[in-house]
């Protein structure tokens, strides 16, 4: 026992065991990703940069100015400017201060018409604070950038229909929300239009 202990002490057994492990790792497959050139896959439903969904029919956003996202936002970073025009509420501007946002996706859940989405883009750092304040135009542009990259023709966010809440409690628009067709294939667009016309 004693001899063995002395031998391990002199021969640095435990150190060589560790070195053997690191040597083994040297020849195993590399796990690192060369980030700016090579990107890992983002999982569906990642909460990244905000965007306002562009309605494929009207080409505008779908927001109705109900202020629910503003109310639910824990960091109070959504500001909506709206106006009453001919008995109709019109959203003039929609501002999200992304530098204050905590990316909880409560706003996405609360929106009754699924107008808002947290996209899977995560590369939008900016040299100035102004670059992180998104107005309506910027938010729509975010959507265009995101949808151009989206591989499928339809998009559906997993936070749009919060699970667990009885669907009868949702407004009709939320209940009926299906995957959003992206404004890419002309055919898809026409198809949707045809459906829309008779109703």
């Amino acid at each position: 026992m004693k001899v063995k202990e002395i031998l391990t002490k002199i021969l640095l057994i435990e150190i060589f065991k560790g070195l053997a492990l690191t040597l083994k790792m040297l020849f195993s497959k590399s796990v690192t990703v060369q980030y700016p050139f090579e990107k890992r896959n983002i999982h569906e439903g990642f909460r990244g940069r905000h965007a306002l969904v562009r309605d494929p029919i009207s080409g505008d956003d779908k927001c109705i100015g109900c202020m629910r996202c503003t109310t639910v936002c824990p960091s109070r970073c959504i500001h909506i400017k709206r106006e009453k025009r001919e008995n109709k509420m019109v959203v003039i501007d929609y501002i999200i201060d992304a530098s204050r946002c905590v990316y909880c996706a409560y706003c996405v859940e609360a929106c009754p018409v699924c107008a808002l989405v947290l996209t899977e883009d995560y590369e939008y750092s900016s040299y100035e604070r102004k670059g992180l304040i998104f107005n309506k135009e910027k938010l729509l542009k975010n959507w265009d950038e995101f949808s151009a990259k989206w591989p499928a023709d339809y998009y559906f966010n997993k936070f749009w229909q919060p699970p667990g809440i009885d669907p009868s409690r949702w407004p009709k628009t939320k209940r009926e929300q299906g995957p959003v067709p992206l404004k890419r294939g002309v055919e898809i667009k026409r198809e949707v239009k045809n459906e829309q016309l008779p109703s």
Binding site: G18, F46, R68, M89, G164, P171
Partner: protein, 395 residues
């Protein structure tokens, strides 16, 4: 010796010191290499979370708790949810309980991986850092898959969880935990019997069981001294009373024993996750009487004065329930120790006062006791061994 050289020296360690795990500032009075006095100064990361919560509804406060201990945000969320559930009298469905337990243990592994990585790096073993980060990355990816975020998950919700887990996720998780015990052995090969590691940790920063209790230490820091206390065993929450696991306990109360406890906890967490995957029941993931995001018939009706209250508590019975209680405390076993939430409520949907019992805060208080009389180099080892996160300490 010239008496002028014998005077004590005042050293500022931190707040930018990389080995203080964030923004902890220690003022050390040293005589040669010996630390005579050690005074921690905290508050560099104070964001006033407790005060902020007073202005937000219970549901809205949830994302705040992510920012307490950002290395294990899931456990913080669960702690807050448990407290509010206790307050509102909500029974969480079985499936949600198991999912929470599963993800909490994932968060524990994640957090302990960061701990072993940085602790070993501080003491001088760089390789462990790389290996631990490699494995943590896999877990973060799993988190991203189910919650949509890697670090600040905001995943549980008062009365359940936010979205269901998929079979794909369970399979991936199973694959991870099958190979994870081997990884833990790898870390141990690197440091467990390494003579430098043993010299730096054995018999350093000793705190006896009695003293540890008196200082209010919890979690692995307390268990390293040989005290058998774990919130998961003593006050079981979620599905912890339905799974089997052991609580590893140390003996000597030195840095090595605290390290050993956490290493053994890795294996217990794996065991818990395995059981959760096997026994995951079917069913709903949100309680029926959970506070919901209300969807009135006409969205424009919501534009009222007291809109915050309207949105979250739309149930008369829930409102009555809140009125019956004045204060409530619930705690969870966070990776760092007992994390408690104490809420004093009035009849509104916002807490009158929320207080967080953060283990890091208590452990920082015990730091002078551990460091005084030791060497400067051991201060770093001590900080690592009590495993503090300043986000939680300063709140």
């Amino acid at each position: 010796m010239n008496p002028e050289n014998e005077r004590e020296l005042l050293i500022n360690m931190g707040p930018q010191h990389p080995a203080t795990h964030g923004v902890l500032r220690l003022v050390l009075e040293v005589e040669g290499e010996i630390v005579k006095r050690c005074t921690p100064y905290i508050g560099y990361l104070h964001r006033g979370l407790e005060k902020l919560a007073e202005d937000l509804t219970y549901v809205q406060s949830l994302p705040l708790t992510d920012r307490l201990d950002y290395l294990s945000s899931m456990v913080n969320n669960v702690g807050f949810c448990l407290c509010v559930e206790k307050l509102l009298g909500i029974n969480v469905p079985e499936r949600a309980k198991f999912i929470r337990t599963m993800l909490s243990e994932m968060a524990r592994i994640c957090s302990h991986l960061v701990w072993i990585a940085t602790h070993a790096l501080d003491i001088g073993a760089m390789t462990v850092f790389l290996y631990a980060m490699r494995d943590r990355e896999k877990l973060l990816e799993l988190f991203e898959m189910v919650t949509g975020a890697r670090l600040t998950v905001s995943y549980p919700r008062i009365g359940g969880v936010r979205c269901d887990v998929s079979n794909e996720f369970l399979k991936k998780l199973e694959r991870f935990i099958d190979e994870f015990p081997k990884r833990v052995e790898e870390y141990e090969t690197l440091i467990d019997r390494n003579r430098v590691w043993l010299k730096r940790t054995k018999g350093v920063g000793v705190i006896s069981a009695e003293e540890a209790i008196n200082w209010g230490l919890t979690g692995p820091t307390l268990r390293g001294s040989g005290v058998y206390y774990d919130v998961r065993k003593f006050f079981p929450y979620d599905a912890y009373d339905k799974v089997e696991f052991d609580v590893p306990v140390g003996k000597n109360g030195d840095i090595y024993d605290r390290y050993k406890c956490r290493m053994l906890e890795f294996r217990q967490s794996v065991r818990i996750i395995k059981q959760c995957i096997e026994r995951l029941p079917e069913g709903p993931i949100l309680a029926d009487n959970a506070p919901k995001i209300r969807m009135p018939a006409s969205p424009l009706k919501i534009d009222k004065e007291d809109v915050q209250f309207e949105i979250y508590v739309d149930d008369k019975s829930v409102e009555d329930f809140i009125k019956k209680f004045t204060d409530i405390y619930a705690s969870v076993e966070a990776p760092r120790g007992e994390l408690g939430f104490y809420i004093v409520c009035d009849d509104s949907a916002k807490p009158y006062r929320m207080r967080v019992r953060a283990p890091s805060f208590v452990h920082t208080g015990a730091l002078p006791r551990l460091c005084e009389g030791g060497l400067i180099a051991d201060v770093i080892a001590n900080i690592g061994s009590i495993d503090i996160v300043l986000g939680e300490c300063d709140r």
